[in-house]
């Protein structure tokens, strides 16, 4: 799977979990840019991403991402 495809699928997950149609993620998107993305939403995003990509994140990884780009890099490293 290409990295762009990972970003596209994660974008869909964000739209679904946060119930917000107009989300457009880029590598530099952070939680500060999306009001609904708080700590509760993050947990559900993490598990939805794990289920979609059939991967598992460790406890340090879940807290380590400063932006969407770092999240995508982490996912991509597990699926490529």
């Amino acid at each position: 799977m290409e990295r762009d495809e990972v970003l596209k699928q994660v974008n869909e997950i964000f739209i679904d979990v946060l119930d917000k149609e107009d989300i457009v993620l880029t590598d530099v998107t952070t939680a500060a840019d999306i009001e609904e993305w708080d700590s509760l939403a993050h947990i559900h995003l993490v598990v939805a991403i794990e289920r979609k990509f059939k991967i598992r994140f460790g406890s340090k990884e879940i807290q380590s991402w400063d932006n969407v780009g770092e999240m995508i890099d982490c996912i991509y490293s597990k699926v490529k």
Binding site: T30, A31, A32, E35, W37, D38, S39, L40, H42, I43, H44, V46, V47, E50, F57, S59, I62, Q63
Partner: protein
Amino acid sequence: MQTLIEYIVERISSENILHGKKLKNNLKKFDEAYFHSAAIFLKKYESLLQDENKTIDYAIDCYLQMLADVNYESVQFVRTGEYSSKSFDEVNRRVYENPDVMQYYMHGLLLSQFLWPHHYNILLFFRKTIGANRHIRNYLEIGGGHGLYISEAISIIGENAKFDLVDISQSSIDIAGKMIGNDHVSFILSDVYDYNPALNYDFITMGEVLEHVEDPVKLLKKLYTLLSDDGKLFITTPTNAPAIDHIHLFRNAGEIREVIAAAGFEIENESCIYSEDMPAELAEKYKVSMMYAGVLIKRNEQK
């Protein structure tokens, strides 16, 4: 001028944007009474920290570490629908016998009492309950931890009553002692099952203990024996609240009520407060944690 609670929220936000958002939103909704209570509590807490040559920044670091644990336990919970720990022995090894974990965990929990709205709102319910029961002469608290509830009880009931606090942890007793700050309380280091006093209590408080035991009905039955026939038991316990030392999963208030009834109690009054500000149906869908508080009396036919 920035208050201490505002400083705490700012510092947490600088380290954890996601959680910081929630805390900042929470602060906007609190009233003046909250800020007044928080200021009193945090002043006592700062004094406790200073006695240990620590600062509020140390407490914030502990809180962030506790939060990291809660977040990971929450992910596990959403993945599996279960708490990750299943037995007291397991949490004893992971948490209670691990001084490094206990240190940050207890300080983190202390701060959460005022950072998490559902904790604060349940405290208000407790104040109202004690206010309606000022005749109390013998008060017992089980697992008093931070000392917050027994302090409130003393300030409302007055010092003519007898106040006992039973806890299985010396560290908890030490912190509670410093937070309470007066010598009117008798601290008893004991497992509650080994506690067999000569008297029965008018009022017993047990906050957030039921979820830490394998058999909550057995624990409530023990409290039944400690309570006078006309006495009241105030309990709090959460649903769907993953944490490093939670064992018994209550999935909804109904399951809590079943345990209460099985132990021989009726519910005189109760309060259910979700940890997130959202419609109940969404909270149910996302299995958002709810803090349950119950004022219990002995069921009539059992007296």
